[in-house]
Symmetry: C2
Subunit: 145 residues, 2 copies
DNA sequence: CCGCTGTCTGCAATCCGATTACGACTGTTC
DNA sequence: GAACAGTCGTAATCGGATTGCAGACAGCGG
């Protein structure tokens, strides 16, 4: 991780640009999502920030705030847990590419954006034709197959 | 709906073939799923069977039993509710066709099986190549768009 | 048709993540 | 640095999922 002090400023700038107050806890939550290799559940974030002593509710609200500000994205991958993922980066935009979810281990990975082709037919929802949709593919990953 | 008495026998046979006792409530739950035009949440089933007076817990357990017996399929469509769908029939097999989920109203509908084309590339999970996957498309339905 | 045994049901409690009310506190602004 | 609005910690609440328990049936042998 780069210089912490410097990064902190960068994080806080990002928060303010999203219209949020730059509090320490929010910066930490944001950093946590940035450093994650995939979507994190509320509990995962709490665990990673445990040493900082923030309350679960605070972290939860921070996650929701980040989501509303467009800095993060919230989705459900079938196990009844909300997962949060950093937004803005092409690598993680859920509408840019489909996600593959393992039904056995719950692991979420990204598929190349051309792995799935959409053919909207008449009668299909408009959002589908506009490709403004999030696609999830569920099956068994190679490790669990 | 066909002759009820006759159908009841058919339902009970299906239950017994799945290794379950043929109770009235189970037959009703099974019939409910068969008649549904899409996946139903636990609450939906309760609502539809309300006039029969069965307890929510009973219906819930029946749904789980049917799922374990392979007569139904359980999935999550992103709103933190389990939904159950009749299994076995081509028309309702979730791996046979993709589902469209409205992120606004939560409504779930079925898409034609050729609406989505899968191109498994190297490195993709094997289950994807074998098309043993369940595909969910999330966006806004025409009513909410 | 009768009774037995293992299931199933109804009722109500419990669990657990998500969400929020509220009073104390802090980041921002002027 | 004082006022104000947004935040935080605490603890409660909500709602769907899940389960323990005691009485009520289905399936089976007699």
């Amino acid at each position: 991780m780069a210089n912490l002090g410097e990064r902190k400023e960068e994080l806080k700038r990002a928060l303010r640009e999203g219209g949020l107050r730059a509090t320490t806890s929010r910066a930490l939550v944001l950093a946590c999502l940035q450093d994650a290799e995939g979507p994190l559940a509320h509990g995962d974030v709490c665990e990673r920030l445990e040493s900082h002593g923030y309350d679960r509710a605070t972290i939860y609200r921070n996650l929701v705030d980040l989501t509303n500000a467009g800095l993060a994205h919230r989705s459900d991958f079938g196990d009844h847990l909300w997962r949060f993922e950093i937004a803005g980066s092409e690598a993680h935009d859920p509408t840019a590419h489909p996600h593959f979810v393992c039904q056995e281990c719950g692991d979420v990975s990204c598929l190349p954006d051309d792995a799935i082709a959409v053919k909207a037919k008449r009668g299909a929802p408009k959002s589908l034709a506009q490709k403004k949709v999030e696609i999830q593919v569920r099956g068994l990953c190679n490790a669990c197959d």
